[in-house]
């Protein structure tokens, strides 16, 4: 009973945050709502006893990704409000088939999943130590590959960021 109430609350926070992130007019509000949705998702992970994933979700998404989005918004458009502009583009119906396709894919894979058989849960508790051992033994190749990819992306970002546009010499004091 209590579990269901907590789950419904977390789900409501996540969904309301996600919808608000799409609907708000002010980009900074959108970014903060997205952060709220990330936090709600972390709460759902924690309710599922996935401590590590839940804390990592907060640390990375709320702590880093949300800040990154905020920075991007401020540095590009200044987060200004345009009250006259509509939130939907005139060709919004073009997105319908894509959305329908995504939903169909999700529903298809969810229905095909063995989880739906509602097996009695075996109380799988994964201590952090076990996760670490798995990551360092069984999954060390994917981990290293992801690390290499991220390092390459980081270096690329630095190279792009280094190229400063040459400003014309001004005589202003």
């Amino acid at each position: 009973m209590l579990n269901e109430i907590v789950f419904l609350l977390c789900a409501a926070v996540t969904l309301v945050g996600a919808v608000a992130a799409m609907m708000m007019r002010n980009l900074v509000h959108c970014a903060l709502c997205a952060a709220g949705a990330f936090a709600g998702l972390a709460a759902i992970y924690l309710q599922l006893d996935a401590e590590f994933v839940g804390f990592a979700q907060v640390l990375i998404y709320v702590g880093a990704i949300a800040i990154l989005i905020v920075f991007a918004v401020l540095l590009t458009r200044g987060g200004d409000v345009q009250p006259s502009a509509a939130t939907t583009s005139p060709s919004w119906w073009m997105g319908l088939p894509v959305g329908a396709l995504v939903v169909a894919c999700l529903i298809g894979s969810i229905m095909a999943s063995p989880r739906l058989l509602r097996l009695p849960s075996q109380n799988v508790h994964a201590p952090v130590k076990q996760i670490g051992e798995r990551l360092m033994n069984q999954f060390v190749m994917p981990l290293e590959t992801v690390g290499l990819l991220l390092t390459a992306a980081l270096l690329g970002a630095v190279v792009i960021g280094l190229r400063e546009p040459r400003k014309p010499e001004s005589n202003a004091p």
Partner: protein, 382 residues
């Protein structure tokens, strides 16, 4: 105690009891630190400090609290009202959570989490968003500049803060703070404790951690976000009354949390420095080390002038982060050399590890001094 309540409400009661202990304890600690800080700063700057309220000015925090509570709460006309209201709450509420995993004495941590240290850093990550909300919603240039400075600083210094903790986790083999304390609970010959700070990597780690912690909690010499001589009060400019007090409470609580973590990770937690002193209550040892570190922070604040923003970021990325990575290597060597079976093993191990951290420190400092950027040219201020 366990028999007083039915089994169904026992978890709730124990959680409430922990909250009822932690909140007044660190709240009082906040009040005490404000008066001690002002007194010590006054002493170091050769003046009296507060001395009007109560004996020796000891009731000053009370007067401050009454003043803050009764002040008018001003919200700027063009401010984003909701965010302006939410920002102090988002800053202060998560910080309280961090104390839940700190072992402040033998068997004295509110919750035992498998990934305790991850929890600690996760709840701390909300403060960046809160500072941004405060700065942006105020609709004030100085507030926004302060917030951007704060975020740049917090993101940069979070990297060395987390990296300097990793060696401790490696050597203890656990993310649980109680296990880390237990790993430092043995004594060597002469009864001296085996704290992490008494090893080369531990000493370097503590120094790196304290520097990063000073920057994370926006304290002098890293107080650029509030640099009052440049940008009024940064993201606090448009706050008054109780909201302003809440920001200060949040900042001091954040400082207490990282100080407590430093004590736990490097200074042996609640263990006594000598075996024959174990009879002293464990929480007293924690409080003593905690107080000593807080005094160190106050001392640093009274001593060092404020950095410039480019110095601040260069210091983090070019100096602290490489040293943290090297320290990781030193910890690995220390761990691997622990199995050496030779009469000269101990001194050689110490020498190698100390040299591995001291030489890069010296070399990096020399290289960076040679590679200083040319004097900055100001476009508008000449």
């Amino acid at each position: 105690m366990a028999g007083w309540f039915p089994t169904s409400v026992q978890p709730l009661v124990s959680a409430l009891l922990a909250i009822a202990c932690i909140m007044p304890l660190f709240g009082l600690c906040f009040a005490l630190t404000t008066i001690v800080e002002r007194k010590v700063l006054g002493r170091m700057q050769n003046r009296f400090g507060p001395n009007r309220v109560g004996p020796y000015g000891l009731l000053q925090p009370l007067a401050d609290g009454v003043k803050m509570l009764t002040k008018e709460d001003i919200v700027p006309f063009s401010a984003d009202k909701t965010l302006h209201f939410l920002a102090p709450l988002v800053l202060t509420v998560p910080v309280w959570l961090a104390f839940a995993v700190l072992p402040i004495g033998r068997n004295m941590s509110a919750i035992q989490l498998d990934a305790g240290i991850l929890f600690f850093f996760a709840v701390g990550s909300a403060s960046e968003l809160a500072v941004f909300m405060a700065g942006w919603s105020s609709q004030n240039k100085y507030s926004l500049v302060g917030a951007m400075r704060a975020i740049a600083q917090m993101i940069s210094y979070e990297v060395p803060l987390v990296l300097s903790v990793v060696p401790v986790l490696m050597l203890a083999g656990s993310l649980e703070l109680n296990d880390i304390v237990a790993a430092q609970g043995t004594y060597t010959i002469g009864g001296l404790a085996c704290w992490n700070v008494f090893t080369p990597w531990g000493f370097a780690g503590l120094m790196l951690f304290l520097i990063a912690a000073t920057a994370e909690s926006n304290r002098s010499p890293f107080d650029l976000p509030e640099g009052e001589s440049e940008i009024i009060a940064g993201f606090l400019t448009e706050y008054s009354g109780f909201k302003y007090a809440l920001f200060f409470l949040g900042e001091y609580l954040g400082l207490f949390a990282v100080t407590g973590l430093a004590v736990t990770l490097f200074l042996g937690g609640w263990h006594a420095p000598f075996q024959w002193l174990e009879w002293v209550p464990s929480w007293l040892w924690f409080a003593g080390k905690f107080g000593a570190l807080i005094f160190l922070f106050i001392w640093v604040r009274a001593t060092l002038p404020r950095l410039r923003l480019d110095q601040l970021l260069n210091y983090a990325w070019r100096f602290l982060v490489p040293l943290c990575l090297i320290n990781l290597l030193v910890a690995a060597v220390w761990y691997w050399s622990g199995t050496w079976k030779s009469p000269v093993a101990v001194p050689v191990r110490w020498l190698v590890c100390a040299a591995l951290i001291a030489l890069p420190y010296h070399g990096l400092a020399r290289i960076l001094r040679g590679a200083l950027p040319p004097p900055r040219k100001y476009s508008y201020a000449e």
